[in-house]
């Protein structure tokens, strides 16, 4: 409860920050719309002369793209701004102030900054989802929606854990700008349904960096094609990643405080 209030206060601060730069806000809305729409172009090209790719029809692939946009939005609203801030704090040594606060440092760090400008990604993602479902003529059942919510929550948890681990590397390497950039580029792989990847890519994107799972699982759930077993696996995987990232974070902070300077 206390943490909910704390996060709400931090979100309020971020909102105030946003209003400090109004012009920036308007420009970023346009930019987000532009990038989202341009991301659909490769899909249009791909489906212009065939009906199905890796077993996914045009409408079904759009569902994946929709989830990709929503997830990307969540990443850039909730996860990435705080993580970038944390990397800077580690670099400059101002993490000291966070570690001296009587609250869980991981929560303080993870919820310190929100970038509400990126809400446009979520909105556009939802529009794509609606359009895709209309094209397919699918009305999700209540069960499918429930499954989708769980699958999407797991996806967010997975993504957050990966970011925490990438951010923790800053304790060792200090500068991780390139690494976060690399991760963002890799994240684009989640735009496509999991089954279009073959061989090593399929393995990496499923088990090592479960990027495709993050979007494919909620897409399958929404289409009512997700087996209960797969959903359980997604939840278990997310829980495992959360635990591992918590462990990595704790170890990194201990290392920071025993080295420091």
């Amino acid at each position: 409860m206390r943490y909910a209030r704390l996060i709400a206060t931090q979100a309020r601060v971020s909102f105030l920050l946003l209003l400090q730069y109004r012009a920036d806000f308007v420009i970023s809305l346009f930019l987000a719309a532009f990038w989202t729409l341009s991301a659909i172009v490769p899909l249009l090209v791909l489906y212009s002369d065939r009906d199905s790719v890796g077993g996914w029809s045009w409408g079904e692939a759009l569902v994946v793209v929709g989830w990709f946009n929503v997830l990307k939005g969540v990443q850039s609203i909730v996860i990435q701004p705080s993580m970038n801030q944390a990397v800077e704090q580690i670099h400059k040594g101002t993490l000291d102030f966070v570690l001296l606060k009587p609250a869980d440092a991981q929560i303080l760090v993870s919820a310190q900054r929100f970038d509400f400008r990126q809400l446009s990604d979520v909105v556009i993602g939802c529009v794509i989802l609606g359009y895709a479902l209309a094209t397919l003529g699918v009305v999700p059942s209540l069960g499918a929606v429930a499954q989708t919510v769980v699958a999407f929550a797991s996806a967010v948890a997975l993504l957050y854990s990966i970011w925490v681990m990438v951010m923790s590397l800053a304790f060792v390497f200090v500068k991780v700008d390139n690494l976060t950039f690399l991760f963002q580029s890799l994240f684009d792989a989640a735009r496509w349904p999991g089954s279009i990847y073959r061989g090593a890519f399929a393995f990496v994107f499923t088990f090592v960096l479960p990027l495709t799972l993050m979007t494919t699982t909620p897409a399958l759930a929404l289409l009512g094609r997700l087996a209960a077993r797969e959903l359980l696996l997604a939840v278990a995987g997310a829980a495992l990643f959360i635990l591992v990232s918590r462990w990595v974070w704790t170890r990194s902070v201990a290392r920071y405080t025993s080295a420091g300077g």
Binding site: R5, T9, L99, L100
Partner: protein, 330 residues
């Protein structure tokens, strides 16, 4: 809160390499590590409400000691107790009673007014609004920041920002203050205000103050006790007056003369520190003080005189020089 430090040792392993591109390239593959003994077996204890200044040249281990006490660094070995706590465990109750302000790093949100940082810290420390409002009012008055806290931090002057940093760090009314060079870069009036504020806060709330500084005036204005750390070792622990009389038992006597006098007349009196047209400063042994003054009053046209201790800056320079000589001899 009482502080107890015994046999405290803190070593760092730092990666070292020679300058130059080749050396940098080589260090990508083979890393050489050196151990730096930042703090090398020191011991002291501090009673609740005391104000203690840590002095020492750059890299002496002052900040490291401060960070160990704040729980930000884990000691390599030794005992550190603050109240009932082991700082490094960073228990909530411990963190609630401490604060850290450094002259070099800031916690204020850069693009927002300081008032928003105060509000954020209120949420983090869970301070009820009924306590928060009068507390902030008091801080704002003492620090004279009433018209500053609504402006974005990035637009504030260094001095205004520093005062707001102090206010932000005191939202939870801590009883143990860690101040790492809090007046660095401030102008004289700001320094005076900050010093007076720290003293007042400490007296009003019985707060213990631990301060590191290069600035001797900081230390003498805020603290009653100094701990000198040099190359990780403790080289003095006691009152400032005792430090001065022990290191520099001589007094400084300054005479203002009604007319200029010959150089010989002056040199007969003792060691001359400075002599301008009508102002003459001598360094005199405590034992010979009375005789010298009497002598001067008889032989010189003295219109005024003052007797002072050697400036703290010089005392400290002496302490460090002595320590260097001792290390050189060893």
């Amino acid at each position: 809160m009482n502080i107890l430090v015994d046999h405290l040792v803190k070593h760092y392993r730092v990666h070292s390499r020679s300058p130059g591109a080749m050396a940098a390239l080589r260090s990508l593959f083979v890393r050489r590590y050196d151990t730096v003994r930042a703090v090398d077996d020191i011991a002291f204890s501090i009673a609740g409400g005391e104000r203690v200044g840590f002095l020492g040249p750059n890299g002496a281990g002052k900040t490291t000691t401060l960070k160990v006490l704040a729980g930000l660094l884990k000691p390599t070995s030794g005992v550190v107790r603050v109240g009932d706590f082991i700082p490094n465990e960073r228990r909530r109750a411990f963190l609630r009673s401490v604060m850290l302000v450094t002259g070099q790093k800031h916690q204020l949100l850069w693009d927002l007014p300081p008032a928003d940082t105060f509000e954020l810290n209120r949420a983090i420390y869970d301070v009820p609004r009924i306590d928060f409002v009068p507390r902030m009012k008091e801080l704002v008055e003492l620090l004279e920041i009433g018209d500053v806290i609504k402006k974005p931090t990035r637009q504030l002057s260094l001095g205004e920002r520093m005062k707001c940093e102090l206010a932000a760090a005191l939202v939870h009314q801590p009883t143990l203050l860690f101040l790492d060079e809090p007046t660095i870069g401030l102008d004289v009036t700001m320094q005076a205000l900050v010093r007076k504020f720290i003293r007042t806060y400490s007296q009003r709330h019985g707060a213990t103050v631990l301060l590191t500084s290069h600035d001797m005036d900081d230390v003498s204005a805020i603290c009653d006790r100094v701990i000198i750390i040099n190359h990780g070792k403790l080289s003095y622990d006691g009152s400032i007056t005792e430090l001065v009389t022990r290191t520099r038992p001589e007094k400084r006597v300054t005479f203002t003369l009604s007319e200029s006098v010959s150089a010989e007349a002056v040199q007969r009196l003792g060691r001359v520190i400075s002599a301008s047209d009508r102002v003459l400063t001598l360094q005199v042994d405590q034992a010979r003080l009375k005789a010298t003054i009497e002598n001067a009053l008889q032989t010189l046209p003295v219109s005024d005189l003052t007797v002072e201790n050697a400036p703290l800056e010089e005392v400290l320079a002496d302490v460090f020089a002595q320590a260097r000589a001792k290390r050189g001899a060893a």
